[in-house]
Amino acid sequence: MPEALLTLDGVHTHIGPYHILHGVDLEVPAGGVAMLLGRNGAGKTTTLRTIMGLWKASAGTIRFHGRDIAGLDTPAIAKLGIAFVPEDMGIFTDLTVQENMMLAARSGAPDRPRLNWICDLFPPLRTFWHSPAGTLSGGQKQMLSVARAIIEPRALILIDEPTKGLAPAIIKAMTAALRQLKETDTTILLVEQNFSMARALGDTVAVMDDGRIIHEGDMADLSADAGLQERLMGLSLEAHQ
């Protein structure tokens, strides 16, 4: 297995009086797509938000490139090269598509070839370049959210359920785009309920339940083992397709 880019070691997170993460141990290898699976309420989104510093870890360490980032605030974590695509997409609805994109380009205007590559990945962005982002459809907003995360090369992208509530055609386009992104050097930690997409994209997988990681391994092994799927998630992957 390649060297870990991100390592969570015994991470606990409390949200108000609720203890959500109960010692999460997770390794995300450099390069490729690491899937984070689990039932609703297992703690997947909280894990991503804790990595991003949006919730503070109450115990444990989070190492990125070997550096402990658990104590850093969110902007500092973002500047280290971690981008976050939240479940609610986090689009700035009053700004245009262009303004949304440029806002995420922290080191100046992006070069033309990269911008063209992104617009080729998500063609509707080119069409609605000067339109307010609030007027986009759900699928287009999701495309903008992912596009914004990759406007500059990032070492790690955290993506939370990018296909939630989207039409099959948009899911197909999103899967194709993420597959292309995977071919670059970017590492992706992807939370996803759509197992077809998980199987198509994932290299490694971690399964969460009740605020803990209960399984880590190769995605191919989990895909091939219906019994393991049944034991880990209560349902086989086929049942989720």
């Binding site: 991003m52 981008a83 976050f84």
Partner: protein, 353 residues
Amino acid sequence: MLVRIISGDMPRSRLLSLIVLVIGFSLLFAPFLFPGIKSLDTAARIAIFIVLVASYDLLLGYTGIVSFAHTMFYGIGAYGTALALDAWGPSFWAMGLGTLLGALVAAVLALLIGLFSLRVRAIFFAMVTLAIASAFAVLVSQMSAFTGGEDGLTYRIPRELTPAFRLMTDKILDVSINGRLLAYYLIFFCALVLFLVLLRIVNSPFGTTLKAVRDNSFRAEAIGYRVIWYRTGATVLSAVVAALAGSLLAIWLRYTGPATTLSMEIMINILLMVVIGGMGTMYGAVVGATIFILAQTYLQDLMGIASKATDGIPLLSELIAPERWLLWLGVLFILSVYFFPTGIVGRLRGEVK
């Protein structure tokens, strides 16, 4: 050229363009179009309030921060100029230095308030600013030896800006070309420059980030923006511009007191002007301030005329009696908020869409 001057922020509605142009030209030629002391005073107050309201819109409309300390910064600017002119005499350097010091004090205070208070939730920040503004007003009132207390300060301004100074012996279009006219144009052009600076700020990458912070502050943080710095930056810029507007008022009135700068009534008026004009639009400040001040100044006169005209109709003439002007001003505002929930500018731009 014009597009560059207004930072590419077009009114985006023909009617709005026309309204803004009419207001702009009316203010530019006010001394010649509307001769008379009252009308010139109204024009100067409109110019000053456009800047004051626009600076508050930077805070409320563009950044989503509710502050009740805006009149405090306005007062700091006015008192800075007033105290300097009072202490050092009626010279341009005293006027300039007082204005500069007022703006500096406003910037430092806004920085401290921003850094210490903007981390809390919006409602608590609003309460903090209300408390600080109230404390400041009491302080100004109590330090009467220094500030003139409730009576305020009356002072002289450079002679070149007073009616006694004649630039030309002949009149142009029956208007004396004197220091008062110069003072008006000083106010007008300073207000114009400040408004264009604000327009430049909201259309810069900094302004785009402010809008992003207003839209979704968590997301802005996740992209790497330190929200607290941007909110504080907007607070400081808005305070400095409000202080400069206060200095313009101090120069125009040759009097500075709590009632003209620090009162809660002015704060509420600013809020109304922003809401009526349209939040987060800048042009809303132009429209809102103009309508509000015109209504405030002339509604009573208009009602007097209307009341006389309807003298024979008992109930109607009573209802529109000049002393009931505040009631009708209130009704006008309720109607404008009802019919223009996004402000007049928002509605006009919406019609274009």
